[in-house]
């Protein structure tokens, strides 16, 4: 079945995430994103039905509230918002969970996109980001706990997940 562009976008994001970016630790993130993907690809129509969408957004809330790091949370939000056509609305991450960081992925600031506004550094819960105003900021990977707050806060899309 040919999927709608939104569904296809969500599937692409999930595909990459479940196979490549997710560290596999939290049940909610690992299994939740896997099931999101499953529901979308099993759906017999181009768009998920009301029911399927309800289950996906329930999973989104679950991941948002119980997954450990910002990576899982941001993927869940991204998927739900793509499917709900909620683009553009700025949302702020509500929590971060301290703890050992995972090694497979890291957050990085693209120096060409960073405008040096310092918003990421001001929001980082562990002061892992430093820099001079109007010059590209950098993340200290030794300190970073990979909560994802910086990425959620950057207005210029300069911060992304690398692996």
């Amino acid at each position: 079945m040919e999927k709608s562009p939104e569904t296809q976008k969500a599937l692409t994001v999930l595909e990459k995430f479940t196979s490549d970016q997710c560290c596999g630790k939290c049940i909610s993130c690992r299994e939740g994103t896997r099931q999101m993907q499953q529901i979308l690809s099993d759906s017999p129509s181009p768009f998920p039905s009301e029911e399927e969408l309800a289950l996906i957004s329930e999973l989104g809330a679950l991941i948002d509230h119980t997954a450990r790091c910002g990576l899982g949370k941001s993927i869940a939000r991204q998927v739900v918002s793509v499917l709900e056509h909620q683009g553009g609305e700025e949302r702020v991450i509500e929590e971060y969970l301290p703890g050992p960081y995972q090694e497979l992925i890291f957050f990085d600031i693209d120096p060409h996109r960073c405008k040096g506004c310092s918003k990421c550094a001001r929001n980082c819960p562990v002061d892992a980001i430093s820099g001079v105003i109007k010059q590209p900021f950098v993340i200290n990977h030794e300190l970073c706990i990979k909560c994802g707050t910086c990425m959620m806060n950057c207005k210029f899309g300069a911060i992304s997940i690398k692996d």
């Binding site: 997710c22 560290c23 596999g24 630790k25 939290c26 909610s28 099931q35 499953q38 509500e94 703890g99």
Partner: protein, 564 residues
């Protein structure tokens, strides 16, 4: 120090490590699948998620208690999350409970029941993985694994073996030995502690129950069994006795009914071990060679020493373990006085231990090419046999262990708890029968609870420096300290399982707190009531040394590395 509100009730806290512990102390048993208080915090299951006064959600096992917190544990949302988490987990779980080794005793199954999971809204996505039966001690069934990491942290944090690890990422994450090897090809020592913490059937005991049933059914066999001290204070758990209750005599009756013709007490083997080991210590103290003397009755510890610290192999006592000494004696007895009906002796040992399953297969555990002990059954397996026969320990008559090896000392009995071997050996260093002196031994430090305890014992004008160590991480630290010269001892007792054999890898697992103290206290209690305190007072030993063992002590009681 401080106080917080948990589900509307104010509770005080002191030095609790995390909010989860405060919640549990407040009487709310929040479900968890990846929290074991002795291990490092991992935070994978997310079941312990709670909500604070600002509406933030967090995993309570990962957050330190702060004064003034206001925690909600049971909002409709949290309840829904817990159930959905279990649903998600079960969707990727090979959930054929009816044929699972853990059925009825499974933490995952139990939580699904407690949280009222009656329907799984997600598609089954379980993957089949090959079962790893390569180890002689435990079986790994990865399709039952929920990736909680408890075994990984147990094997590393507590046992310093590091045989298990995570591999892969995302949905392909697996817990497996590094490089996907078989367990038998790793440094695994078979202690079974990973099985103790595994909340599912993913790690189980390698069972030989069927083989033993077959042996019992064959009229050409005479099947006898020995029962280790630690078994009798644990097996009652499963039959409704209070934790730690010593049910040896009922167990003997029930085992006779199962078809074991004679049931002996491994404490007799321990008496032999103590006798030999005290002699060995005296000899080494006199010659000053190969000190400190290390105990050798725990096969997981012996493997650990061989694999990780081979330079210390000469320090290991040459004594066989109590099980192996007894096994060799039984076999020699049978050869000297063959069964009148010409039946073949099948020797079974009931042990708290998974590592003993490997010990009986070692070359030095064989005489004339035949294993001295044919089968080791763990406490758990024996429970299974009793239940499948339709018997129970409740109401069973009380039989005494069979003769001619039925007399044992208290010293042999306390082997089951960490520190017991040392105390038993030191009792033999006390001349005469002075009860006060024997009693005073209890207070030198041998009965403390920490995983490394050191003390000095005065004997004939010299100080004997002893240490009692349990848990292999602790063993690792002690060995490094000895090697680097930071520590020096004359005698060190090592047990792989934290707390000793009463907490062995083949014991029943309690869902309500650690049974350690109950089991240990029960062994010490029984010792108080025993007439014979020291192995050197056991009259049976004298007879045995004068007859069967005469001139053959080395052959039968020490490790014969050639296997001849």
């Amino acid at each position: 120090m401080g106080s917080m509100i948990i589900a509307g009730i104010r509770v005080e806290f002191t030095d609790e490590n995390n909010v989860l512990t405060v919640i549990r102390n407040a009487g709310i048993d929040l479900p968890t699948l990846c929290y074991v208080s002795e291990l490092s915090v991992y935070g994978a299951c997310r079941l312990c998620t709670v909500k604070d006064e600002e509406g933030r959600y967090f995993a309570s096992c990962t957050v330190k208690p702060r004064d003034g917190m206001n925690i909600q544990t049971n909002t409709p949302e949290l309840r829904k999350y817990r159930r959905t988490l279990l649903e998600l987990l079960l969707a990727s779980h090979d959930r054929d409970c009816t044929v699972c080794n853990k059925n009825g005793d499974c933490h995952l199954q139990n939580l699904a029941e407690r949280m009222g999971v009656r329907n799984i809204r997600f598609k089954s996505v379980q993957e089949r993985h090959e079962v790893d039966t390569s180890s002689n001690c435990i079986v790994r069934t990865p399709s039952k694994c929920i990736l909680c990491g408890d075994c990984v942290r147990m094997c590393d944090n507590i046992q310093a073996v590091d045989a298990l690890d995570f591999a892969g990422k995302g949905v392909a994450t697996l817990v497996t030995p590094a490089y996907n090897r078989r367990l038998a090809d790793t440094d695994c020592v078979g202690c079974g502690q990973c099985r103790v913490v595994c909340p599912t059937g993913a790690i189980s005991i390698k069972s030989t129950v069927d083989e033993v049933w077959n042996a019992l059914a064959d009229p050409k066999n005479k099947v006898v069994a020995q029962v280790a001290p630690a078994v009798r204070t644990a097996i009652g758990d499963r039959f409704g006795f209070p934790a730690g209750k010593n049910v040896m005599n009922r167990l003997v009756t029930v085992m006779h009914r199962l078809g074991f013709e004679e049931v002996y007490d491994t404490a007799f083997g321990a008496d032999l071990t103590v006798t030999e080991e005290s002699r060995e210590l005296q000899q080494r103290l006199a010659s000053g060679e190969r000190l400190p003397l290390f105990t050798s009755c725990c096969p997981a510890w012996v493997r650990f020493c061989e694999k990780k610290h081979p330079d210390f192999i000469p320090n290991l006592s040459t004594c066989r373990s109590p099980m192996q000494m007894f096994g060799a004696v039984l076999r020699a007895w049978d050869r000297q006085k063959p069964d009148e009906q010409g039946r073949r002796l099948v020797s079974v040992a009931i042990m708290p231990c998974t590592a003993k399953k490997d010990e009986i297969l070692r070359p030095e555990s064989c005489t004339h090419g035949r294993q001295d002990v044919d089968f080791v059954l763990t406490t758990e397996e024996l429970i299974g046999m009793i239940q499948s026969y339709g018997l129970t320990l409740n109401g069973a008559d009380k039989d005494a262990a069979d003769m001619p090896f039925g007399i044992t000392s208290g010293a042999g009995l306390i082997f089951g708890a960490s520190g017991g071997v040392t105390e038993a050996v030191l009792r033999n260093f006390i001349a005469g029968h002075n009860r006060q002196e024997i009693d005073a031994l209890k207070r030198v430090g041998v009965r403390e609870e920490n995983g490394i305890r050191e003390f000095t014992f005065h004997h004939e004008g010299r100080d004997i420096r002893a240490a009692v160590v349990s848990g292999l991480r602790n063993a690792d630290m002690v060995l490094n300290a000895i090697r680097e010269g930071g520590k020096s001892y004359d005698f060190v007792e090592f047990m792989a399982c934290p707390g000793g054999c009463i907490m062995g890898g083949g014991q029943p697992i309690s869902s309500t707190g650690s049974p350690f103290r109950a089991r240990r206290d029960s062994l010490y209690e029984t010792d108080i009531n025993m007439q014979i305190k020291k192995t050197s007072e056991n009259p049976l030993l004298d007879t045995l040394y004068a007859t069967l063992l005469k001139g053959r002590e080395h052959e039968l009681l020490h490790r014969n590395m050639s296997g001849e």
